[in-house]
């Protein structure tokens, strides 16, 4: 089984049967021109965020249901505000999932939300494939807000938007992704997005936190693994630091956090030395002093705050695509 599918439930493995229309489930299934189209849209929505009155009537009367079965502040708030800026109503459900009967209760929850009038479902779930599972079983457009270690497509899109504004074109660009690739759905979405738009991706992290076949995480020939941090960073046009998922480190994959910080942490002087021109991105929230030191985060190269703002614009774009033009034409 390819690495991407690890951790998938039996009912629905991500991408197993090809793309499911009408949803945003993964960047792996999203063609390049559609990614570009979403980025164009998001760029337009950025302007709305800069207005004095940050509200347009576009999705008035639509209801966005956010179901977050995993702790999240940033993504949840980002979707919430994105929906409100478009005049949609938002209802949010949060909670941990019990380890039994997950699929069943998830489906029932989604069906109930639909009966209450939800027009689309934004789902964050600890199981890879949860979003695909719902997309196939519930008659609602589903937006994946992060499923297990599978994908986090809106995070991938916001990283792409942030970099596209700086670069215009991704062809010939080299991006280093450093950290816990194994558990990172952000990395999976980033790698698909970046390689589809023409960039090359170089991965680096502790061997225990790299997947078995990392080259399968993106378009063939565009993903490689570095043997050292300098090798990963040298010549990079951008560096994406991944969050060390401490909540997923209980299996003893790391000797200690201190060791992680000293071998794989990105410090300002390391970045200045090996890739002085590269932009720095991080999906947040940052474990300061662990995968990234405070100085690196505050440096001019850091686009971390731009990412957050673009996250809202990207989610407005996705909600617009999913919800505008749906009602009058559904079959």
């Amino acid at each position: 089984m390819p690495t991407v599918l690890q951790g998938a439930t039996n009912q629905a493995q991500p991408g197993q049967d090809g793309p499911v229309p009408g949803h945003l489930l993964s960047l792996r299934e999203t063609p390049e021109e559609e990614i570009q189209g979403l980025l164009d849209l998001a760029f337009s929505f950025l302007e709305v965020l800069e207005r004095e009155v940050k509200k347009v009537p576009t999705l008035r009367g639509k209801v966005v249901a956010c179901a977050f079965f995993e702790p999240s502040t940033r993504t949840m708030k980002s979707f919430d505000l994105a929906a409100r800026y478009l005049s949609a109503d938002v209802t949010t459900l949060t909670g941990e999932v019990s380890s039994v009967a997950k699929g069943e209760s998830l489906e029932d929850t989604a069906r109930a939300l639909r009966q209450m009038g939800a027009d689309c479902l934004v789902i964050r779930h600890p199981l890879s494939g949860a979003a695909h599972f719902l997309a196939r079983r519930v008659d609602l457009p589903v937006i994946n807000a992060g499923d297990g270690r599978h994908e986090h497509p809106t995070q991938g899109l916001l990283d792409l938007l942030t970099l596209r504004e700086r670069w215009g074109d991704f062809r010939g660009r080299k991006v280093a992704i450093v950290g816990d690739v194994l558990h990172s759905r952000v990395a999976r979405s980033d790698i698909w997005g970046l390689t589809k738009l023409g960039a090359e991706v170089c991965l680096f992290g502790p061997p225990t936190l790299l997947p078995e076949r990392p080259e399968l995480l993106g378009l063939p020939g565009r993903v490689r693994v570095a043997r050292s941090l300098p090798e990963a960073l040298e010549g990079a046009d951008a560096v994406i630091a991944l969050r060390l998922q401490r909540e997923r480190q209980k299996r003893g994959l790391l000797p200690s956090l201190e060791e992680y910080a000293s071998f794989w942490g990105l410090r300002k002087e390391i970045l200045d030395r090996w890739c002085p021109e590269a932009f720095l991105l991080h999906p947040g929230p940052v474990n300061r002093g662990l995968e990234l030191d405070g100085e690196a985060m505050e440096a001019p190269r850091s686009l971390v705050e731009e990412q957050v703002r673009r996250g809202v614009a990207v989610r407005m774009a996705v909600l617009y695509r999913v919800l505008a033009g749906r009602a009058g034409s559904s079959g």
């Binding site: 949803h23 999203t30 509200k55 009537p57 034409s329 559904s330």
Partner: protein, 243 residues
Amino acid sequence: MPVGRARGRRVNAGPGIGGADGGISWLMPSSGREQGGEGVGEQEAWGSHPGWRLREKARVMDGPAMTRALKRIAHEITERNQGAEDLVLVGIRRRGVPLAQRLARYLREFEGVTVPVGVLDITLYRDDLTARGDKPLVYRTEIPFRLTGKKVVLVDDVLYTGRTVRAALDALMDLGRPAEIQLAVLVDRGHRELPIRADYVGKNLPTSRREQVEVKVEEVDGRDEVLILEAETGDPRSEDGET
């Protein structure tokens, strides 16, 4: 449940992100791009029927006629506003924008004042977003000056149902509180569906609903002209939203 079923239910709502169905993809509505359509004027938004075969019926304005009409409008604007003080021009994407820029140029020639020009995209304010099968692209609104207290002249190419202007008025109100909003159009073709009228009209053009008025401008289309096109068969309006 087999995937096919879920897909079957959803395709009509607009084929999805995967786009594997061979149909149009809802992420990239092809119509907008292929037409080079950056933003939508009223005719593109509510009156155009891309799936219809249209034939040219008449050429009602050529370049010099358009220039004369715009120059006259520029004079009318300064006459009515006693100059160009506190005046700003806002063009509705797409063809309202070059027309607004030309008006600004004439105002500079005639009055020696520089009138700022803004760009308005009304897509987010349209009243038919949920009724259409396609997904219009959204372009940026670029109004880098304050509207509050200004006299705004809204500029579009064709005035038809009035729905674009309604959307534009709402959009402007969200951006500030202008002292006054006036409307300038190159062509008024009638068939209003809302109580809206233009303050400045380049040419009144009686048309039937079967017809389509096409304004071409040098900056976008490579030449200046106004054409009347006619649908070859049927009633194009009944097809609205189906293309």
